[in-house]
């Protein structure tokens, strides 16, 4: 499991916050006021006075026609027809259910328009009904004023409702944002707990596979490594060399200097060997003073050279050992390169162990590989 990325989490959180802020800003600046005004500003709006205003203008169109009609009533049939049409239109635009239902003066005004119409239709030099006209005009004023107020009230109510909706939308967005943050937090927590658990598991596994004294892998790890190796072997793309080494006369060293000094010697030797190992090499403590190295990707000559460097590096430690023929602590090394055939774990250990044995038999402090004859060793 990869370690959770703090940068990625931070970017996600920032993006979420930016989206949240922008949504809130947009919601609170773009409002619905303009849409509402557009609805209520239509020419034929429900609460408009547009129809009554039209009616009023048709009625007023009649007035300039009255003087010539009264002065020369018999010669002006065209004017009379026009006046009658204007009165009919004035009637039509006032004869609307909405006005009739809401304003009592409308039905009276309609009757008065009819009365005016009759007077015009009769012809002759009759006095115009200015009182009736005045009452109709008053009715128009009432309608226009009330319709305007009605419209303003409706807009105001709609705006209040809109703002209320806006408030609840804000609340909704904040709740969604809070839930998103909570979800993000829980996921992050779960991710981090998972990561911690995985790290701890690996640490425990590592401890179980590591030799406490020398910090090399232990024998259990060696078996696991060799099991993996033989399961994938033969692998023509790779070369594998096994190096088995043992500290010479280590029992006598312990007997002479004690186990604490023996442990120090083990640590020094493995540290010196570790310093030589390339990255693709595993170092195991086989048991006691015996150590095992699995080397990947190097040729036979390179592995033998590594073994000889190990030999020299241990000598260079110059650890005094009175029971050794050289006077210092030394190691014997066996080297075995895997062939392109199948192996068992035991066979591999046995192969390299035999070579180490040869090195021991031929005086110790030396490297023996399968291509060097025992006599030469």
């Amino acid at each position: 499991m990869n370690k959770p990325s703090r940068t990625l989490s931070f970017i996600s959180l920032t993006l979420l916050s930016v989206v949240f802020t922008l949504t809130l800003a947009l919601l609170n600046t773009v409002r619905f006021d303009d849409s509402l005004r557009a609805i209520f500003n239509r020419d034929h709006g429900l609460y408009d006075q547009a129809l009554s205003e039209r009616s009023q203008s048709y009625l007023l169109n009649v007035l300039p026609l009255m003087e010539p009609l009264q002065s020369e009533p018999s010669d002006r049939d065209d004017l009379r027809a026009r006046a009658l049409e204007q009165l009919d239109l004035a009637y039509a635009y006032l004869n609307v259910g909405r006005y009739l239902e809401r304003y009592a003066c409308v039905s009276i005004s309609l009757e008065q328009i009819l009365l005016l119409r009759e007077r015009v239709a009769e012809g002759g030099n009759q006095p115009f009904l200015f009182d009736e006209l005045s009452q109709v005009l008053s009715c128009y004023s009432l309608i226009n004023r009330n319709q305007n107020e009605l419209k303003a009230n409706m807009i105001e109510r709609a705006l209040v409702a809109s703002r209320s909706n806006q408030f609840w939308m804000n609340v909704g967005i904040i709740v969604v944002y809070a839930l998103a943050i909570m979800l993000w937090f829980l996921l992050e927590l779960q991710h981090r707990r998972g990561h911690k658990s995985e790290t701890e598991k690996k640490a425990w596994q590592n401890r179980a596979m590591t030799d406490h004294l020398t910090s090399t892998y232990n024998r259990m790890a060696l078996h696991e490594s060799l099991e993996n190796l033989v399961s994938e072997w033969p692998d023509s793309q790779n070369t594998v060399g096994l190096v088995f080494y043992d500290i010479d006369h280590f029992k006598q060293f312990n007997d002479t200097f004690g186990h604490v000094a023996g442990d120090d010697a083990l640590r020094d030797v493995t540290a010196a060997v570790n310093a030589l190992l390339p990255g693709h090499t595993e170092h195991f403590r086989f048991g006691g003073e015996e150590f095992f190295i699995v080397n990947h990707g190097q040729s036979h000559a390179e592995v033998v050279k590594l073994a000889e460097q190990m030999l020299a590096a241990v000598q260079d430690l110059n650890i005094h050992h009175p029971k050794s023929t050289t006077g210092i602590l030394t190691v014997s090394v066996g080297v075995y390169m895997l062939e392109q055939r199948e192996y068992s774990v035991d066979e591999l250990i046995k192969k390299v162990d035999q070579l180490l044995y040869v090195a021991k038999q031929h005086g110790r402090n030396r490297v023996v590989d399968e291509f060097v004859s025992h006599e030469e060793a």
Partner: protein
């Protein structure tokens, strides 16, 4: 054949009376129809809530598309409606909409004072609130002329 005879009669009656309620124009073709003809031949009735009356009303008249088909002999998809007071409205896809030309309301012939003599209404309110008259912009009162226009 019957329809042709009826429209021939209508034409003759219109010429004799010289009082035309409606003029139909399709390019160079022009058909004048009198109020009495319109009232006599009304063939559709429909009862519904009338937004401008604020009550249920029985309308009588013609389905617009059929009416234009019969009068002009052509399928009309777009038309311009001109009212007596100069109001002017063009509508598209009229053959696909439930538009009705009304000549009578609750059995009474429409006059100018009752938004006649010919009125265009929609018989299908399509879920609109009938109390909100601002939603009925396509209703045309006092129609005096219908012109066929290119869509």
């Amino acid at each position: 054949m019957k329809a042709i005879v009826v429209f021939c009669c209508i034409g003759l009656m219109a010429l004799s009376s010289h009082v035309f309620a409606l003029t139909l124009v399709n390019g160079k073709q022009q058909v004048d129809i009198s109020t009495s003809q319109l009232l006599a031949d009304a063939n559709v009735s429909h009862e519904m809530y009338a937004p401008f009356r604020r009550q249920n009303v029985l309308f009588e008249g013609y389905m617009l598309s059929d009416f234009l088909q019969q009068a002009l002999g052509a399928q009309v998809t777009a038309a311009r409606f001109i009212a007596i007071d100069g109001y002017d409205l063009s509508l598209q896809n009229i053959d696909e909409r439930s538009l009705m030309l009304v000549v009578k309301e609750n059995g009474e012939a429409l006059t100018i004072r009752n938004h006649g003599p010919l009125r265009l209404i929609e018989t299908d309110l399509g879920g609109r609130d009938p109390k909100n008259i601002s939603l009925f912009d396509d209703w045309v009162w006092m129609i005096k002329q219908i012109e066929v226009v290119d869509e």
